[in-house]
Symmetry: C2
Subunit: 454 residues, 2 copies
């Protein structure tokens, strides 16, 4: 172990320079102008994997950007870990809001500033450095390792599911590890053990066939804006309990153990940060419990009628609402979507018609048992490297990749992210703490070595 840590120290400067080289590549997946840069990033990874000692490397072409697969098999009796990450980054626009050029990495106040330094190239690179250190010092790896680094995560990973399904045997593993998330606060090791699922739809209520003079027609027709308010109001009560029939039927209840873990996690001061009079959560649950582990139904957009300055006395033709739900383990996205549709149709008042468009994208929730040995080891390695006990959290957001891997392979997924709330993902001046690079590497090499011993 000491040898591996020495190796990391000895080669630190080179590794950081290599990381800068990786970050200089403008691997923006959403913009076809950067196609050659995407190829460059792909080539960089392949070259590095070869240097590390991988020979089984497969560049899986797609209509957009290739996925890099590599495998190093040590022994059938050892566990196999699948490392997932992505080499594509968000666009850096608007460039004039960056203090240093987004693709010219710069360290300031202990942070490495560049697009992708946190999301996700910095963290992907860390995994490869950890593998390099283990390989060069021990001549092998402690476990079998498969690597899956795609180039389309920022644009929806549209080919990933198909690739994983078609090449299931090739990518199969005993667990997956992903470093594309973050700590709940600076210097607080965080093991993310759950994510919410997702489903949604949009619906439009139509009344008369044109906007009407509210004086002449008020009293003859149902106003679509009032009708849509009625429907929305029927879906969630003022105690934040979702009142869609059957919504909670399959929800896995929150255990006392988890409730305790949630009290230990640092809490955001919502009232101060968001300038709200008070937090509001489902009756019987704290804000932390609800954001982490209870399903939600939110209206993301609502509109109809006159939106300009002053008054316009109309009864509008129609009104539209966009709804999304975050789901918890137990809930099936299509089933919940069906329930939403049924509920809307049932609660549409007389005098108007309703059209519903289902959101095609959906995801099941993901949750791994906090007591799983791999989760426990990840927390231990992380905590020791950062000299602070790790907290276990479930996130309110969704990561479709996780749900797909869960569905296809049914393996534990360790979400071990080294990012921090100040990294400014998707924004100008993205950065990553250099100390998280250093300590994250210590975390990873220890984790791989420890799980080999189990």
């Amino acid at each position: 172990m000491t040898t591996v840590l020495d190796y990391l120290v000895t080669h630190r400067a080179r590794h950081l320079e290599q990381l800068n080289e990786f970050l200089r590549i403008k691997s923006v997946s959403t913009d076809t102008n950067f196609k050659t840069e995407m190829t460059k990033a792909c080539d960089f990874l392949v070259a590095y994997l070869k240097d590390i000692g991988f020979t089984d490397i497969d560049v899986v072409e797609t209509e957009k950007h290739p996925l890099v697969y590599a495998s190093y098999h040590v022994d059938d009796d050892l566990p196999t870990g699948l490392i997932y990450g992505h080499y594509d980054v968000q666009p850096a626009d608007p460039y004039d809001l960056w203090d240093s050029a987004p693709f010219e990495p710069e360290v300031r106040h202990g942070r490495l500033y560049a697009r992708g330094s946190s999301d996700d190239k910095g963290q992907v690179f860390m995994h490869l450095v950890a593998l390099e250190a283990l390989m060069k010092t021990t001549g092998t790896l402690p476990i079998n390792v498969k690597v899956c680094i795609e180039g389309e995560e920022e644009i929806g990973s549209e080919n990933l599911y198909r690739i994983l399904q078609d090449k299931k045997a090739q990518f199969d593993a005993d667990f997956c590890i992903i470093s594309d998330s973050g700590m709940v606060e600076e210097e607080q090791p965080t093991v993310l053990y759950g994510l919410k699922g997702f489903t949604g739809l949009e619906f439009t209520v139509t009344g008369p066939n044109r906007d009407l003079h509210s004086g002449l027609y008020g009293g003859a027709v149902r106003n679509p804006l009032m009708a849509i308010s009625h429907i929305l109001q029927s879906m969630k009560d003022v105690d934040e309990v979702v009142t869609v029939d059957g919504f909670y039927d399959d929800v896995e209840p929150l255990t006392d153990i988890e409730r305790k873990l949630m009290t230990e996690a640092p809490k955001e001061n919502y009232v101060m940060a968001l300038n709200i009079p008070e937090t509001v959560s489902e009756n019987g649950y704290t804000a932390t419990e609800h954001t982490m582990a209870r399903p939600t139904l939110e209206v993301n957009g609502l509109f109809g009628g006159y939106q300009g300055e002053g008054t316009k006395t109309i009864i509008p033709e129609k009104a539209t609402a966009k709804i999304t739900c975050r789901l918890v383990p137990g809930q099936d996205p299509e089933d919940i979507q069906d329930k939403l549709v049924k509920h809307i149709e049932k609660h549409t008042p007389k005098g108007v018609t309703v059209d519903i468009t289902r959101e095609p994208l959906s995801a099941k929730a993901y949750k791994v048992d906090v007591d799983h040995p791999l989760i426990q080891q990840a927390a231990k390695s992380y905590g020791e490297a950062f000299n602070k006990e790790a907290v276990f959290v479930r996130m309110g957001g969704s990561i479709p990749v996780v749900e797909w891997i869960d569905e296809i392979f049914n393996i534990p997924i360790i979400l071990l992210g080294f990012g921090t709330p100040e990294d400014r993902l998707h924004s100008p001046n993205e950065s990553f703490p250099v100390i998280n690079f250093d300590r994250g590497l210590v975390t990873l090499v220890d984790f791989y070595q420890q799980i080999a011993l189990k």
Copy 2:
């Protein structure tokens, strides 16, 4: 009487040519580019009034467009009628949707096409022709007449109230007559004996201080879109009964006599015309009764959050709704506005704040007794001229001018409009039936002569 009718026939061609001259003037009040045309229209009226025989003429200047006043006093023992109208017109844009130029009057299929032919220059001109015919054939007028023709009606009549109040003695009369409305259907004489009042406000519900990621924050904050739906839903129930505390306290009930009159008025086929599944009205009232004589509360605009294509998973910062109410006799606009404000504040759920902006413009409802001798005579004259018995209707819309005259002078106001539903007010291809010009003149001369005899 015969002499007057002969006069109208003899001078018909000249009158129509004069009307065309009046209509050619581009008297668009809202657009400063037409200022000289506004002056031209004003001059036209003054010249015509002089030709008729008026000597007491006062052009009341304002910051925008002058008001034309004229008075012809016959005898203190005769009633005095105040004729109100406006010489300004709506803009004619978009010009390319007109079949003939909006300020080049053209008769097609018995209709006179020009901006202002119905609203209101055609009808104002009719009143002056009637006065001319009476003056030239009898050497006097049957009653004392005052004329008040403003140039700012289409832009809110912002100076009218002040002028009428400041010059109350000058404009005072025993009744007012206005021809700026229409028949409920073609060739159906209509006496409008009531108008609704008006009040309104806009309110914004604010939650967090920025749009939030719905995954990370769903469960911690009150969604302003849900909160606004809750508030709106609390204001009117699914039976179209307004549930704002005290809303109906002062409402004058609908009498059986009026209910009977309403059944006699032609009804619009709402379902077919508006393509709605069914009409929806206040529990206990028909669509006709509710549109004519019951107060309403409508949401004219509602918006917040994401309105673009597809999905955006946010909890938005805020939501806004615009509300207007149509009032009936008994209700006070400021009192109702206070009740709306109180209700909104009371029903705003925890976790959000609300900001309310009251609409400054308001109007009381207007209603004159259907049995009033002047109303009865107007119906009789109208019915005889068109050879069809007149119907009595109350309109769901509001005309602030009427409410101001009612408030300042407390006199019966006869709304005797000769327009028709096909006139296309405020739209391209506005027109006015020539036959309504002819028969309307017969109506007016008969009315003035008959009321002089009472």
